[in-house]
């Protein structure tokens, strides 16, 4: 899979990873990875445990420093070397694998907190907390994720699925350019999974790239326009999920057949 083949697809590049290398001690997590996610697409990343999926997200979000390579947002901002808050403010939102919401705060407060109207200063953010744009955006997002009737409940009492949707909502507050979901349906009931699939499909937007890491192949097939299969830190397939299922190499490393 060369980068040139990917270029033929429609949609501008949101995130471009070039020659990424990540090493933990003696363990080479990602030897040499190039990857592109495009605006207007939902891009699934699958692969067996240890394939480097989460490591890739860690590098994009600034949690892990790579040994080499570049990660560019919009073909210009190099994210390597920026810290997590700066990368988030540049337009990269990440949902963690484990639901990560502020349990003692209400659903509304969780969403309010997630919006940075004054990215330069936290003090300015606090002073402009009651800016009407904040309340407006909270209402929009609450409708989008379907939690409006629970607005004043503490997030801690929400069901597992509702917490995951709330966290997605928190990321949406900021209107991220790149939205990354790390196993969004892990531990969800069938109904919650269906609901999440609907939500993720609605997240597709011309000004946004959505990256979904998932083990649940049926879920990926349902939501993703494009799939990348990672194996030992290297992409071994990129294309439609239906084709991935029939790819001999994918079957041998991922499906174990």
């Amino acid at each position: 899979m060369s980068a040139a083949e990917v270029q033929t697809a429609s949609g501008a590049q949101a995130i471009q990873i070039d020659g990424l290398r990540v090493v933990f001690g003696d363990f080479v997590a990602i030897p040499q990875l190039s990857f592109i996610a495009r605006y207007g697409e939902v891009h699934g990343v699958i692969g067996p445990n240890g394939a480097g999926k989460t490591t890739m997200l860690d590098v994009i979000t600034g949690k892990t420093r790579p040994q080499g390579g570049h990660v560019r947002l919009d073909n210009r901002i190099d994210l390597i070397g920026m810290d997590e808050p700066a990368i988030a403010l540049a337009g990269v939102g990440r949902k963690f694998q484990k639901p990560s919401v502020f349990e003692a705060l209400s659903v509304r407060d969780n969403l309010e907190t997630a919006l940075r109207l004054k990215p330069r200063s936290i003090l300015a953010e606090i002073r402009h907390w009651s800016d009407p744009r904040r309340a407006e955006r909270v209402t929009e997002v609450m409708d989008e994720i379907g939690l409006a009737r629970l607005a004043d409940k503490p997030a801690g009492i929400l069901a597992h699925g509702q917490k995951q949707w709330l966290e997605i909502g928190m990321l949406l507050m900021q209107r991220p350019k790149l939205l990354m979901l790390d196993e969004p349906v892990a531990g969800m009931t069938e109904e919650e999974t269906r609901h999440t699939a609907d939500l993720v499909r609605r997240l597709r937007s011309p000004d946004r790239a959505v990256l979904v890491i998932e083990h649940d192949m049926a879920f990926v097939e349902e939501i993703a326009d494009r799939v990348t299969v990672l194996h030992e830190g290297t992409p071994i397939f990129e294309g439609r999920m239906a084709d991935a299922r029939h790819n001999a190499q994918v079957r041998s490393v991922y499906l174990g057949r």
């Binding site: 997590e84 808050p85 963690f96 990560s100 502020f102 349990e103 003692a104 907190t113 990215p119 953010e125």
Partner: protein, 370 residues
């Protein structure tokens, strides 16, 4: 429903209102019953006024810790450091003022055979200067320590251990005679504060009233701060700091702000405490006090300022009472109370209070609205 929740979000919880009402009553009652009405049946003896004053400083200290531990999730096992810093600074003021204006030579000069006080005692005869130092020195200490730790993401139990180690280091330093803080003996023999006799009735009642007032102001101020967006950020840091960072907040600054404020409040408590007990020595920096502060907060219920205040007040009142006749039993009683609370009341005494019933009724009402 909307107006109901609005009201709920903007008013103090029941227990906080009880604490505020009690403190207001004390702010009025202590000077009144300790002063003009001291001789009457309801009068307050200087001994009782002093106990109330001391308990108020402990409650302020507990409130300071709850601010960072209960709300920010930052456990300090070294808040004795800030408390002692405030205490040492006010003691320096009292000794220096007594020396300069009253001609009373501080003991530590006699012990060390000094004819002059060391250079860091300069200007301490001035009360406003001492007040400034009581805010600046602990504030700066808190800033330096907090900046280094939070920047390198030291948190949780590691942070707690380092706070304790740092306080221990300070204790060793204060035990030395040549550092100019009175060494092992500490500082005592205070004569006057603000020109008033330190042991006088008026001073005892005045200090007790000032302590209760300081607690009241700190309680109301911190409650307001915690209900503001700043308080929400602090709780967000406690609940999931990584999530907040990945939402674009550099959490260093809100943590540092809360940490410094907490250190300054603890120092003010110490500065009010020392004139009331008439002595300060390095034992205030021992691990026992710092751990006991955390016990007050844990017993009272962290994450609610009222819990911290009530916990500190109950435990220290119990201590005053019991050490009167069974002093050697106190550590065992404290340990027993800790065990009972930790196993049976995970949220501290807040689990016991009528709010459990009250909350039950309220959630029932809410359930109907749902």
């Amino acid at each position: 429903m909307a107006s109901d929740t609005f009201a709920e979000r903007h008013r103090l919880p029941l227990l906080s209102r009880i604490v505020v009402a009690t403190l207001i009553a004390l702010v009025v009652a202590v000077p009144l019953l300790g002063g003009p009405l001291a001789g009457s049946a309801a009068g307050l003896s200087p001994y009782m006024a002093n106990i109330i004053g001391q308990i108020a400083t402990f409650a302020l200290l507990a409130l300071a810790l709850d601010l960072v531990w209960g709300y920010g999730g930052i456990l300090s096992l070294g808040h004795g450091l800030f408390f002692a810093a405030g205490g040492y600074l006010i003691a320096m003021h009292m000794l220096k003022a007594g020396y300069v204006f009253g001609g009373v030579t501080p003991d530590l000069m006699t012990f060390m055979g000094w004819s002059e006080l060391p250079v860091h005692w300069a200007f301490f005869e001035s009360f406003p200067y001492a007040l400034l130092m009581i805010v600046l020195v602990p504030g700066l200490l808190a800033f330096l320590y907090g900046y280094v730790s939070f920047r390198s993401r030291v948190s949780g139990v590691y942070f707690a251990i380092i706070t304790q180690a740092l306080t221990y280091v300070a204790m060793l330093m204060m035990f030395r005679n040549d550092t100019g803080f009175g060494g092992n003996n500490g500082m005592t023999g205070f004569t006057t504060l603000l020109g008033q006799d330190i042991g006088g009735h008026a001073m005892v009642v005045g200090l007790a009233s000032a302590s209760v007032l300081a607690l009241l102001v700190a309680f109301i101020g911190c409650s307001a701060l915690l209900r503001s967006p700043f308080g929400k950020l602090l709780v967000a840091i406690r609940d999931d700091e990584a999530r907040l960072r990945f939402l674009g907040y550099d959490t260093l600054w809100p943590k540092l702000a809360a940490w410094c404020l907490s250190g300054i409040l603890a120092a003010i408590a110490g500065a009010l405490y020392v004139p009331q007990v008439g002595i300060i020595n390095p034992r205030l920096l021992s691990p026992e006090l710092s751990i006991e502060i955390a016990v007050w907060v844990a017993l009272g219920g962290r994450g609610a300022l009222s819990g911290a205040v009530i916990g500190a007040a109950i435990i220290s009142a119990l201590k005053f009472w019991l050490t009167g006749f069974v002093p050697e039993a106190w550590p065992f009683i404290l340990a027993l109370v800790v065990l009972v609370v930790v196993t049976l009341l995970p949220n501290g005494l807040l689990d016991l209070k009528p709010q459990v019933l009250w909350r039950g009724r309220r959630s029932g009402k809410r359930g109907m609205i749902e």
